[in-house]
């Protein structure tokens, strides 16, 4: 529970680490599309982080292979971390892409290129790497993946709601589009600073 709140609010992927910005900025024009992408990210994060944990624990980390035979105790496959993690993530993204295409073609069309691009969404690889860096156990990695996804989801729907409201704003021409969105995200993270340093 503590970890869930911490990973959702305090260590928010967007507002604390500024990870996963490309799809965050690109797909936040409408709340419903943002919600769809956000849910996809939650799903991918919740499954890939624990899966990557298993892979790291039993295959990749130094001495991980000793469960096969003690001879492998000296084998260190951690140089493969990035590529294996990305492969796992891409696999899941492919899966979710097929599911969305089957059940919600409208959302599939709305997300467009950004759905497959979840595969290179930094927040997802980032979560897997944080999970190793902070040496979570298996249970924690599930919660952490879910919480990070939830934080990302909250951030993107909040931004999308603001941008829907901002259709009525009279933004100076040079700032329209991405320019004002960058300023907006900066101001939003100012609001999220209230969680920074919170002891849970």
């Amino acid at each position: 529970m503590e970890l869930l709140i911490r990973s959702t609010f305090v260590d928010n992927m967007i507002f604390a680490y500024f990870l996963g910005m490309c799809s965050y900025l690109a797909v936040s024009k409408k709340v419903n599309t943002a919600l769809g992408l956000g849910l996809a990210v939650v799903f991918v994060l919740t499954l890939t982080v624990p899966l990557n944990w298993l892979i790291n624990e039993y295959v990749l980390r130094p001495g991980a292979l000793s469960w096969i035979s003690p001879d492998f105790a000296t084998v260190d496959l951690s140089f493969l971390t990035f590529i294996v993690f990305i492969a796992v993530i891409s696999g899941f993204v492919q899966l979710i892409e097929m599911v969305i295409e089957r059940f919600s073609p409208a959302l599939y069309a709305a997300l467009g290129i950004f759905l497959p691009l979840i595969a290179v969404n930094c927040s997802i690889l980032g979560a897997s790497l944080f999970m190793i860096g902070r040496s979570y156990d298996f249970g924690n990695s599930i919660i952490f993946g879910f919480g990070s996804g939830l934080g990302w989801l909250l951030a993107i729907v909040a931004l999308a709601a603001i941008r829907e409201k901002m259709k009525y704003s009279n933004v100076p021409a040079p700032l329209r589009g991405l320019g004002i969105t960058f300023i907006l995200v900066g101001l939003m993270s100012l609001g999220f600073l209230g969680f920074m340093g919170m002891k849970i």
Partner: protein
């Protein structure tokens, strides 16, 4: 008045299209409408909203509602100075001392904010309105009297520019402008705005045993110093003991305590609230639900068993009078632009502000006060709340329409 009007009218051709100062028309228009009622009225035919409140009157009502806080704040700056240095002064001595400290801050905020506003109005050709009178007065009221003037100017320029003008000016900002100014200073120059001493000393020494800390700072430090006591009265005792009983509940409510210029007095904030609610300017739902949220959260923290930090056990009603909660609830949370727009949304919005304020105070040792960040965070989330309230309403009506 007639003669002033004549002077203005004589200048009018200079500023109108084709005149010498055509570019400065909106400056002229602003001065004219500050001084006189605009001549145009809505034509008698056609669909129109009939309401005595326009943007001008709304903003001026807020300014009037802030005056009790301002006058009390000016006096309190003097009062705190005299208490801290152990001197005796009359009412006017204190008022004068406070005025010398506070008026420059207000002037600087108005001048810097006004300059940005005028530049934008001229370049972007939008009228100047009274919104900046509100912002320019709110910003000084949430600063400590010890703040360096250049920081006031910097924060005001930042807030008006980044939080308001880049979004298109009045009515289009996402975050509350005054809170953005304070948050900017809070993170850029933390020692000047969250420091230990909140009382102007002017080179004179404090009397022995006096600390200029706010009630919140005392509560936080007592709580941090005795992490494992479970006493319900530890903080209230510490508050009562500090500075010869300065932080009694009564004094906290009345505002005879150190703090930012306008935020100390809950009573004055409530008077402001009464003015604004009776004029239909502020939403009573937001104000009420902020207090409700803070109070209930305080009670819940009281009830959490086995939490060994004394801050948890602080009686809930203390949360309502300490720090800037009342001022923030009345003047910041009710900002009609950045708050939630739907009626149910206002309840949720206000309640969460109250909840987050107390949560940040109690749970986050990094910040003694929570109202600023709670308001900013809920400003960020308000459009989302609105969106879902509207969606729910749509679904409800659709269901009703289909059922018939």
């Amino acid at each position: 008045m007639k003669f002033l009007h004549d002077i203005l009218e004589k200048q009018r051709p200079l500023f109108e299209r084709g005149g010498k100062f055509e570019k400065l028309y909106y400056l002229f228009e602003a001065i004219e409408t500050f001084l006189f009622t605009p001549a145009e009225v809505t034509k008698p035919k056609g669909v129109q909203v009939r309401d005595a409140i326009d943007l001008k009157r709304l903003m001026m009502t807020v300014v009037i509602a802030m005056i009790p806080c301002l006058i009390f704040g000016i006096w309190n700056v003097g009062e705190q100075h005299y208490i801290a240095t152990g001197k005796v002064g009359s009412f006017w001595d204190k008022f004068l001392f406070g005025a010398i400290k506070v008026i420059p801050i207000i002037l600087v905020a108005y001048a810097s904010g006004g300059t940005v506003e005028v530049i934008f109005a001229i370049i972007r050709k939008h009228p100047i309105n009274e919104g900046f009178l509100v912002t320019g007065l709110l910003i000084p009221l949430i600063m400590p009297a010890t703040i360096p003037l250049w920081q006031v100017a910097l924060a005001t320029v930042f807030a008006v520019l980044v939080a308001k003008e880049v979004f298109g000016g009045t009515g289009m900002n996402i975050l509350n402008v005054a809170m953005t100014a304070r948050a900017f200073l809070y993170f850029a120059y933390p020692s000047d705005i969250s420091g230990e001493v909140w009382v102007v000393s002017d080179g004179e020494k404090f009397v022995d045993g006096y600390s200029g800390a706010t009630a919140l700072a005392i509560a936080a430090s007592v709580s941090a110093a005795n992490p494992s006591t479970n006493s319900t009265t530890l903080i209230t005792d510490a508050l009562t003991a500090a500075n010869n009983g300065m932080f009694s509940f009564y004094n906290l409510f009345m505002g005879f305590v150190p703090g930012s210029i306008g935020e100390t007095s809950t009573l004055m904030a409530l008077i402001g609230a009464a003015i604004m609610i009776s004029c239909g300017v502020a939403s009573w739902k937001i104000i009420f639900s902020v207090f409700l949220g803070a109070y209930l959260t305080g009670i819940i923290f009281n009830l959490i068993p086995g939490e060994p930090r004394p801050y948890f056990c602080l009686p809930a009603h203390y949360h309502l009078v300490m720090g800037g909660l009342a001022f923030g609830a009345v003047f910041m949370a009710t900002d009609p632009v950045s708050s939630a727009q739907t009626e149910i949304g206002k309840w949720i919005y206000g309640f969460l502000i109250g909840f987050l304020t107390v949560l940040i105070r109690v749970k986050n040792p990094a910040y003694p006060e929570g109202i600023m960040l709670a308001v900013l965070l809920m400003n960020v989330l308000a459009p989302l709340i609105d969106f879902y309230v509207v969606q729910a309403n749509k679904r409800k009506r659709l269901k009703r329409a289909l059922a018939v």
